[in-house]
Symmetry: C2
Subunit: 619 residues, 2 copies
């Protein structure tokens, strides 16, 4: 197969509008503001300088009304949850410490009070939070427990005599760790603690007085220098029997009466726990967006540099060759560019779902589905950003290693995105568990007759696997979008089914943990191929009919995913060697096809030029 | 297939001795010194503090005689080139700025004078260089040219009237860039410049006076903050018609007489150029060793943390599970551990070759072979270190992101290893070109009869590719070392042959560059699989007969390489689906097998405990 010629020219404006999507107005406004006044904190400096600069920038955002977009209208907000996630994403073009600091203050701290609290908390605090009169922390993670939130050790014991909760850190492992805003600026914290015997709940705990001194019983430590994000003051909090009033409990999903009686509209403790965590979904979605902006910035810098930078003579012309004209260089940068587009559209679709579901009861199954998508896309987007920025750094050689050219700080700052707001590996495990639950539900619904048919299908598939002829018969065309979508969907179905069969054995095994543990690769693969599928579907749906260029970008995304995993397609008889080699060849051809349009494709991200004004791109 | 049981216990001492190899005495001495007094520069601080600390540490090394090992006996050295590379490698357990600073001073600057200069330069400078009385720079890279050294723009024009060379920076692109020791400490530079019309040569150019002021005509700029290695003072040098005496030419391979007559023992200008560059091979080999030490440190930290850190309850025992007991975690850390072992032995073999060839004329073909191996292993080792340290950081979650736990600085400091001392992609292209030259040489030697047989073999292979039955007939055993070695060797042969056939077409193509350019993926693959083969061969040769544990580590290396590239083996009929799935299963089993011995395997690296004393591993 060879790629049909295209003599069109890319329309950057049109591309930009497609990318801008439903919250185009929010994006345009943010671009204008950031372009006119890039965050001062981008300048760098030592730890204390950076922290002070970022806090000043945060103040400027508050003064400008930035946080209002996501808060309720009755408190002066705009009730636009999708817009809040998008406007957070846009900050990702600038200083990522500022991005994370806004996330801590208005997303995690403010967001937790909004989502887990009730009117008494909203009335008391939301305005002050928006205005930055009250700076807060989100104190969930402990030194001993990060991913396993249900096992947190901090305790909150209610004393009916005094009407107070006693917040306590019983062991060093129960210390709250890596808490943003804790080391310098925070005055209050949303503290997650065990309310025996009802499990983890969230409490509002003041930690500093008006002069910034730690309150009695509160021990505050500084996490010090980190690999990046040094404008964020991460710290550690320990509580020595600190007393807070009964009203400090964020009581939307559970309450404690004056006499100590516990009540909750949700009966099952585990469902209650997951409902509380689910209410915090916005943070996870926001992180994926911020990671996407960082990846876009890195690609824009590296692709522009790749067009300017020349090395080695062209054997025919004698002139020096722009490094982006080398296929090896295109191979480094263009598939990640295509994936960045793909994740952008998947993220946009996710934000739309969040926005449409916000504040409504969409039912447990839809809620789980949304959480699963948020988890999967967060993992995919943050790993993608980390890998892509690294690749971009290397693609700019020595220039890429100088701080002034932004790439190293982008890498260092986004590094932790893969392990905070949910460790990516743990998130993928959650996604896989969700897939298994849904699969089992479907199988159960089949009944006896359905099961027989299902098993027959399984058998037919097993036969197909031994005869790598299916795809030959179908004359596969890697550039056919339907073929791509089928390939992704079929792979997901097969991996999930295989995993389910394998884990069913665990039910009768002596060592169920061992069976489950040994299936980890397949479990993580199930999650990955599921995310691949929803991302491709989102991208495919976003390509306007007849848009050749964007269609080719979508092809490059789909085929570079298949290329990377073609061993699976070969092993499972989904593809013969000829088709697999054809996929590799087509990825090569697509890189060549897209090379002349690479600049237009990054320009469509519309990152303000003042944020791209780095020496290596200067004259 | 299932792994045979092994009831042995790892003997850390014995492993350590195998790893220590020929330069065991150098390694032991270095470990003792570093263990007793870790570099002060590990402490951190701002740019100027770091630079000053590293310079102090460099002084301490000089006072201790560290640099003497690699210099000639007649100047007070020990003439132990292999030992010098190994002792550099050992510094990689400590502060990597100090490592690079020693590399600049004694490896690049001192090494260039040693390798390219003659007695007059050695007499004048070698002692002062060892004693750090003369601090120098290696000024090769220019702003406009990094990888393409032959196209450097700095000029050195000889004036017979004055008997001087005039060193000049004709355009901004000719500015020497990213030069270590230039911004703060350097007094002299080895400057690579065009000596018209004879091409690039090296000159000794003083750049600062005794008070540290830039000399007239020398413009020195500071590169400022970098992504890492901030204890190294990288800078930029421009020369405005700076005059140096005729004796400033490092004249081992070419000289200019007082009347301006040029002479060289090497007639071909291109051979002369490559001989000069080849004399600098030590730097490239050293970088690979330093990268290896950083990877070992990261793995030691992450594996120890993985044994301490517990998350989530074990469903049967109720206790919390050590994260290294999760297969997903083993899958992250144990294959990189096996690869670290493999690269260690490949590096040791390379150092032996360097040591045995040093100062001897080993003939052009062997010299090219050595350079190719140095290039390939440098690329493999530095990418491996970068990827592995990143993985280790993520495997330690939030703790891994705190500067106090060393991983983020290890990542930031080694990042540039993949693009300095030869950009890895360019190095792999060199390796591939060497493979093609040798292949063509072999084919030419075949003659007509041989060619017919050769073509018949090609045909037979083509048939095999369409019948994925060969490996079934041979009943492959992934744990059979011969089978692994055959698989690696056969893959290399096939990829190189395919590449040669493809590029032969370029000879008759209208656009030879396009044909060559489109073959980049295959070209880079040829280099990669070649490096894989020599690495596996080195590892296999280092495993003592009957050493079950080290044998299993070697298996894990071999099979994780095959696993990652099993699409190739499937596409080319080298493996059927059953065998490929068996390889994946065996990698899983090997991870389980090695899990209990992971601690012993990293302890055998024998990194001084004082360098591993980080808070996340404290009590």
């Amino acid at each position: 197969m060879s790629l049909p010629e295209w003599d069109g020219r890319p329309d950057t404006e049109a591309l930009r509008e497609i990318l801008d999507g439903r919250w185009g107005a929010v994006r345009r406004a943010a671009r204008e503001k950031m372009g006119a006044a890039p965050p001062a904190s981008m300048a760098g400096g030592d730890l204390e300088t950076r922290r002070a600069q970022v806090f000043e920038d945060l103040r400027a955002l508050a003064a400008d009304g930035h946080p209002r977009i996501g808060f309720p209208k009755e408190y002066g907000g705009q009730d636009d949850v999708g817009g809040a996630v998008v406007s957070f994403e846009m900050l990702g073009f600038g200083d990522l410490s500022l991005l994370v600091k806004t996330g801590v203050q208005w997303g995690l701290f403010g967001g937790a009070i909004q989502a887990l609290g009730t009117a008494r908390h909203h009335d008391a605090h939301l305005r002050a939070i928006m205005d930055l009169e009250l700076v807060g922390c989100f104190a969930m993670t402990e030194t001993g427990h990060g991913s396993d939130v249900a096992s947190l050790l901090t305790t909150a014991v209610f004393e009916p005599e005094t009407g107070e909760f006693v917040i306590d850190t019983p062991t060093p492992a129960a210390r709250k760790d890596y808490i943003g805003n804790a080391a310098r600026d925070g005055r209050m914290a949303v503290v997650f603690a065990q309310l025996p015997p009802h499990g983890v709940h969230a409490f509002l705990v003041p930690i500093r007085d008006e002069n910034g001194e730690a309150l009695p019983g509160v021990l505050i430590e500084d996490c010090g220098e980190k690999g990046g994000l040094n404008g964020v003051d991460n710290g550690r909090l320990s509580f020595d029997h600190v007393r807070v009033p009964r009203e400090a409990l964020l009581n939307r999903f559970a309450d404690v009466a004056a006499d100590g009686t516990y009540s909750s509209p949700i009966e099952s403790p585990s469902r209650r726990f997951f409902t509380m965590l689910g209410a915090l979904i916005r943070g996870r979605i926001s992180v994926a967006g911020g990671a996407g902006s960082a990846a876009k910035t890195a690609l824009t810098l590296a692709i522009r540099y790749g067009e300017r930078r020349r090395q080695f003579e062209h054997p025919a012309s004698g002139g020096e060759v722009a490094i982006l004209d080398y296929r090896a260089h295109q191979r480094k940068l263009l598939p990640p560019l295509a994936t960045t587009y793909a994740l952008h559209f998947a993220q946009e679709a996710l934000i739309r779902s969040l926005d449409e579901s916000f504040g409504r009861d969409i039912g447990e199954s839809d809620q789980r589905e949304l959480e699963s998508r948020a988890a999967g896309i967060k993992a995919a987007a943050t790993w993608h950003a980390s890998d892509t920025i690294q690749t971009c750094r290397e693609a700019c050689g020595g220039a890429g290693y100088l701080a002034e050219n932004r790439l190293t700080r982008l890498k260092a700052d986004t590094d932790v995105f893969t392990t905070f707001e949910g460790d990516n590996t743990v998130l993928l495990q959650l996604v896989a568990k969700g897939l298994l639950t849904r699969y089992r539900h479907d199988v159960d619904e089949l009944g006896t007759l359905g099961l027989a048919r299902f098993l027959a299908e399984q058998f037919a598939e097993a036969v197909i696997e031994r005869t790598p002829a299916r795809s030959v018969v179908h004359r596969p065309d890697p550039l056919d979008r339907e073929w791509q979508l089928d390939a992704f969907a079929d792979r997901e179905k097969h991996v999930v089914e295989g995993l389910a069969r394998r884990l069913r054995r665990a039910e009768h095994a002596d060592d169920a943990f061992a069976v489950f543990n040994e299936a980890q690769e397949q479990l993580l693969k199930a999650a990955r191929v599921h995310v691949d599928r929803i991302v491709l579907e989102a991208f495919a749906a976003a390509v306007p009919p007849g848009d050749v260029l964007l269609g080719r970008v979508c092809d490059l995304y789909a085929l570079s995913v298949i290329e990377a995993d073609r061993a699976w397609f070969l092993e499972h008889g989904r593809m013969n060697a000829e088709t697999a080699k054809g996929v590799v060849r087509t990825v090569d051809e697509l890189c060549g096809f897209l090379r002349p349009h690479a600049r237009a494709l990054v320009d469509a991200f519309a990152i303000p030029e003042s944020l791209l004004d780095v020496p290596m791109l200067g004259n």
